[in-house]
């Protein structure tokens, strides 16, 4: 399960950004996770909480936006949803000019700061 390593990398990057911005804490971290990124969001969620403990990110919420995988065959001008398991063969030709348009994202999108550690955003009940 490499989600712990992924979570640790997220915490490391956000922690550094928080220090650069002089933020006291982190309320929310938003990620983009592609369908083909090889990451299980639930596992990442679990690991994120553990990885945040004792850092500026303690108590931060993790929001993962999933990105559908799409591919295109340029010569055929065909575009399709790759699906899972992925189908990366062009549906209309046997050629090898397929290009993956999306689906491999594993990215920190944005971060919402908190006044102090442990305060989550949107705790309106």
């Amino acid at each position: 399960m490499h989600e712990m390593s992924i979570a640790a990398a997220v915490v490391e990057q956000v922690d550094r950004a928080a220090r650069e911005h002089g933020a006291q804490g982190v309320a929310r971290v938003r990620l983009r996770v592609g369908e083909l990124a090889g990451v299980v969001p639930q596992a990442l969620d679990f690991c994120f909480e553990l990885a945040c403990a004792g850092t500026l990110l303690e108590g931060a919420a993790l929001q993962a936006e999933s990105v559908a995988a799409r591919a295109r065959c340029t010569p055929c001008a065909v575009e399709w949803a790759v699906g899972m398991p992925p189908d990366l063969g062009c549906p209309s030709c046997a050629g090898g000019s397929v290009e993956l348009l999306s689906g491999r994202e594993l990215q920190i999108l944005d971060v919402e700061w908190a006044e102090r550690p442990g305060v989550q955003a949107d705790q309106k009940g």
Binding site: A9, V10, Q13, A37, D87, L88, V98, E99, G103
Partner: protein, 278 residues
């Protein structure tokens, strides 16, 4: 006050940066790294032992680094080939990362090494996400594992430059459907070469070595569809993540504590074993 800040950073930027640096450093000294991915028990070690033996007989300077959670059994097996071998114990970590690998190579890998085979931790999930600075990535599956393995582990097979089927001598007993397997590979990685091998009978032993030597000679490996797009944020301008590469992080891989095996293990050199306290 703006409370939300766009970061748009690739989460694996640090590893990708280290992998790129390692690939460039290896290329500069004329070494090609081969990353071998498979599930446990697929026969990676047996095939690699045969390939290393062949390389030694042909006079190709090769080295192998094998990663496992525990035991040095694989290194002992690989060392029988006469090649320089290092065992890395990950202490439970499910994959290798580029920085870790670079640390293990420092002071160990002889300058004249042409091919470095990295036997990743037996796992088809996690190692797939980590570029190790290799120029050839190989996914292996044995005939006993089922024809749908490439569909079950699409990133491992989808990102491979070469797919090897092992234990082909057992194909009939396992009722291995080669056509179905090839179709499944083509679905996740159109155009990738699939080769059936058997370390026991010697069938196609040497293909891995030939493909690796071709890359060393400048041949362009197959480019998987899946490898093209790493998503936005991956191709930041140079320098953007440089600071991170220098930054200390929580992994604290204690490298260099055992640097041994200098020069080539011409004879029955005991393989170096390093515990990675990750």
């Amino acid at each position: 006050m703006c409370r939300t800040v766009d970061l748009r950073q690739a989460i694996l930027a640090r590893n990708d940066g280290s992998a790129g640096e390692l690939r460039a450093a290896l290329a500069a000294r004329g070494t090609v790294a081969v990353n071998l991915l498979s599930s446990p028990g697929s026969g990676k070690t047996a095939l690699l032992e045969a390939e290393l033996g062949l390389a030694r007989r042909r006079g190709v300077p090769v080295a192998a680094l094998t990663a496992d959670l525990a035991t040095e059994n694989d290194a002992l097996r690989l060392a029988r080939s006469g090649a320089l071998v290092k065992q890395v114990l990950t202490d439970g970590l499910c994959h290798l990362e580029a920085e870790m690998l670079a640390g293990h190579l420092a002071g160990w890998l002889p300058d004249d090494t042409r091919l470095l085979f990295v036997e990743n931790v037996g796992n088809l999930v996690c190692p797939a996400s980590y570029d190790l600075g290799e120029s050839l990535r190989v996914a292996l599956a044995s005939v006993t594992e089922g024809e749908d393995k490439p569909l079950k582990y699409p990133t491992a097979f989808g990102l491979a430059n070469l797919v090897l089927v092992t234990k082909a001598d057992l194909a009939a007993a396992a009722e291995f459907d080669e056509t179905a397997f090839r179709e499944n590979v083509a679905r996740v990685n159109p155009g990738v070469e699939v080769v059936l091998t058997s370390a026991r009978t010697g069938r196609n032993v040497g293909v891995l070595l030939e493909r690796a030597l071709a890359v060393l000679d400048g041949a362009e490996p197959h480019r998987p569809v899946m490898s093209v797009d790493h998503g936005p944020g991956h191709h930041h301008g140079p320098g953007e993540h440089r600071g991170e590469a220098e930054h200390q992080h929580g992994h604290g891989h204690g490298h260099a504590e055992h640097q041994q095996g200098h020069g080539h293990a011409e004879h029955d050199h005991a393989p170096a074993v390093v515990r990675d306290p990750s």
